[in-house]
């Protein structure tokens, strides 16, 4: 049997197909148009493994866009899906921190179950968007920010955790002659500090797993480790944990129904574009 997890985040859409393990995955940008066309991402991942959609036993959608996935059997929030996905990769996890495109969340996990969670408010500081804005202001690519910051010799102090104010602060640091590496190191410290303060409300306990696109930034990872005081575990592909968790939860629901001799409750699946105003 095959199971699919569809994670439509604010910035990226992630889809995985699993049997016993992940056999295919696609990560693509979300955006207004792509949100509507999540079906195409699904079709792309099916093409990878040459499977017809009907072969997928269960589809769980998660992420902010989960409501508008016409081919999903069920919607489950990203909190539950991330926790399940992270637990499957790191069974010793007690705290998961996810820094996505427009939100950051901390999840307390016990035996694979969510026991508490916190999220940022609607402010973009402490999220991937914060780094995108600063990358633009500095004229560096998002992907190179982490490595560049590792060359810092004298980390700049970025006092503001507001994205807009931080951008202004960065411009003034540049005019003061501070190196880009030092500025980036300061920014990573600022983002790590903000996320740490949020997650610590749950009382962070090891093992701690960091996921989301920002987990690919080595500068933020190091700054977070400095704040927390012990090393972080990072999945091989930190963007996929929500989709993996979604697929696994779909699998559990299916197997539970089958074992109980009950029919699997599926949605009215339509592998087509999302319509938002039905």
């Amino acid at each position: 049997m095959y199971f699919a997890g569809v994670d439509i985040g604010s910035t990226m859409t992630k889809v995985v197909i699993m049997d016993e393990e992940v056999i295919a995955s696609v990560i693509g940008p979300t955006g207004a148009e792509h949100r509507r066309l999540a079906n195409r991402v699904m079709e792309e991942v099916l093409r990878q493994v040459n499977l017809p959609f009907d072969e997928i036993s269960y589809v769980v959608a998660t992420g902010y866009g989960r409501i508008n996935v016409p081919f999903a059997d069920r919607q489950i929030t990203e909190i539950t899906c991330h926790a399940r996905g992270v637990y499957s990769l790191f069974p010793t996890v007690r705290t998961a921190i996810d820094i996505g495109g427009q939100d950051a969340k901390g999840i307390k996990i016990s035996n694979g179950k969510v026991v508490g969670f916190v999220m940022n408010d609607k402010c973009a500081a402490g999220t991937g968007r914060f780094l995108e804005v600063i990358a633009d202001a500095l004229g560096v690519r998002l992907e190179e920010m982490g490595e560049l910051s590792m060359n810092s010799r004298n980390r700049a102090k970025i006092s503001s955790t507001c994205t807009i104010f931080a951008e202004q602060e960065v411009v003034s640091r540049i005019s003061e002659g501070v190196s880009i590496e030092d500025i980036l190191a300061g920014l990573h410290e600022a983002i790590a500090s903000r996320v740490y303060r949020m997650a610590e409300r749950l009382k962070i306990e090891p093992d701690v797993v960091l996921t989301g696109g920002v987990a690919k930034n080595i500068g933020v990872v190091k700054a977070m480790e400095e704040q927390i005081g012990f090393p972080l575990l990072i999945p091989q592909e930190p963007l996929l944990t929500g989709a993996i968790g979604a697929a696994l939860l779909g699998k559990e629901l299916t197997l539970k129904a089958v074992e109980g001799g009950k029919p699997v409750e599926r949605g009215t699946r339509r592998l087509e574009e999302a319509t938002f105003f039905e």
Binding site: Y64, I76, T77, E78, I79, T80, K113, V114, V115, G116, F117, V118, M119, D121, K122, R201
Partner: protein
């Protein structure tokens, strides 16, 4: 011109009402503002100060800008008032109750007329302003600013509560009661001077005793509903039904209302008539004022099998039995307020907490989680209300230590819709309910 800005019609955002009593509140509120405009009686703008009885006794119609701000938010017409206040330099983190009232006053001063889009005909022009130190710090300056906008005299009195750790001591009690009595005498003198007539003490006595009966019914009704399984009176209804107690207490209409509420809840409890067919999860609204701009969010939660069976914010305090030897109505007022305050503080003290008798007791959620069989607690961080928000992290820790209940924080504001993000709230509620389901299955 600011005053010509009229909010567009918006879709209904209020919550469905589960009790007949809750349905009556809207009419009471509308009448409160209408009579102030149409009746030939003096009007006072008053803060929630726990002394409405004095205004009733002096035939003054009190109008409460706090309540009016909530009304504007409920009808989603608060923005032009907020914009006007901010245009005068008030920060966007100043209490949104205050900003709506200040914007209202500024618009009135601009044109000499009640703003045309003011709901329920607007707040009538006052001849006096009365505020106190009760609850939070914004209140002193807020009414002082009203006074300048409207050129109306303002009387502020002090109403301190002692620290919880000493409130029970007879010497402390005596000192505070004496002081509070002096403050109320000062208010009576101010009113007498403003109105050109003397207080009728016999009438006040009758009103104070009527208010005591109303408080008792209010308290008994709310507690009975919270304990009941199934619960017939969810938080969105109790967020309505506190209105007569806060803003009409002492009036016969308030007493009738609470008698009706008590009877209705008792009937439903006796007959096991709940709000939902199945209470999959019983929740406590454990801190922070509600989002008046989007009360329909309570229905979102209910549609998923969860019910807020109680709110620990606008709640009645345990009424005191006032000794017969206290016959002076002002002394009865002071005694009942003090005793109500310290009953909560006493509970805090027994829990080892260090709250104050300021009616915002830190231990509030803990008072209810066991008795009301609650599965989880939701708290609302309010961007513009420090008083109701500051202790919430502490409360969460207490809940974690003493009850192991999960707590969800949601963020926005009581009146300023700009701070509200509906998709975020819904996602958080969904995730919270998933967490509760997991706990339930695990037998936590």
């Amino acid at each position: 011109m600011e005053q010509e800005k009229r909010p567009e019609e918006v879709k209904k955002t209020s919550a469905r009402k589960w009790t007949e009593s809750a349905k009556k509140v809207r009419g009471l509120v509308a009448n409160m503002y209408l009579r102030a405009i149409t009746e030939d009686k003096p009007v006072a703008w008053v803060m929630f100060t726990l002394c409405n009885e004095l205004f009733v006794a002096m035939d003054v119609l009190p109008v409460y800008p706090e309540n009016y701000a909530g009304l504007c938010a409920t009808k989603r017409v608060g923005d032009p008032f907020i914009d006007r206040a901010e245009a005068d330099g008030y920060s966007n983190v100043t209490c949104s109750y205050a900003r709506i009232g200040l914007g209202y006053s500024a618009l009135w001063r601009d044109t000499g007329e009640i703003p045309p889009f003011a709901p329920d005909g607007g707040m009538a022009r006052p001849i006096m302003l009365v505020g106190s130190s009760l609850v939070c710090d914004t209140r002193y300056k807020w009414f002082q600013a009203f006074s300048r906008y409207l050129d109306v005299p303002y009387y502020a009195f002090d109403m301190p509560g002692p620290p919880a750790v000493t409130a029970h001591r007879p010497d402390v009690r005596e000192q505070y009661m004496k002081y509070n009595l002096t403050q109320l005498h000062g208010l009576v003198s101010f009113m007498e001077e403003r109105l050109g007539k003397k207080m009728d003490w016999d009438k006040l006595d009758e009103i104070v005793r009527r208010a005591e009966k109303s408080y008792r019914l209010w308290y008994d009704a709310y507690m009975m509903a919270g304990r009941a399984v199934p619960c017939p009176f969810p938080a969105e209804d109790s967020f309505r039904c506190f209105v007569p107690a806060f803003f009409m207490i002492g009036e016969q209409e308030a007493l009738d209302f609470y008698q009706g509420l008590y009877d209705e809840i008792k009937y439903k409890v006796d007959n096991k008539i709940g709000s939902l067919p199945e209470e999959r999860y019983r929740l406590l609204w454990g801190g922070g004022l509600p989002p008046w701009h989007t009360m329909g969010i309570f229905n979102y939660v209910e549609d998923r099998g969860a019910l807020f069976v109680f709110q620990s914010v606008y709640l009645p305090l345990n009424p005191a039995d006032i000794p017969d030897r206290i016959t002076n109505p002002l002394e009865r007022l002071v005694y009942s307020r003090y005793e109500m305050g310290i009953r909560r503080a006493e509970h805090d003290r027994k829990l080892g907490l260090f709250g104050a008798c300021n009616f915002v007791g830190l231990g509030n959620p803990l008072l209810f989680v066991d008795e009301f069989k609650v599965d989880g607690v939701v708290m609302h961080w309010l961007r513009s209300c420090r008083g109701a928000t500051i202790g919430q992290i502490y409360q969460k820790r207490l809940l974690a230590e003493r009850s192991n209940l999960p707590v969800l924080f949601v963020e926005s504001d009581m009146c300023d819709i700009r701070d509200y993000f509906e998709a975020d709230w819904k996602m958080k509620f969904d995730a919270f309910l998933e967490t509760l389901e997991t706990r339930k299955r695990a037998g936590a």
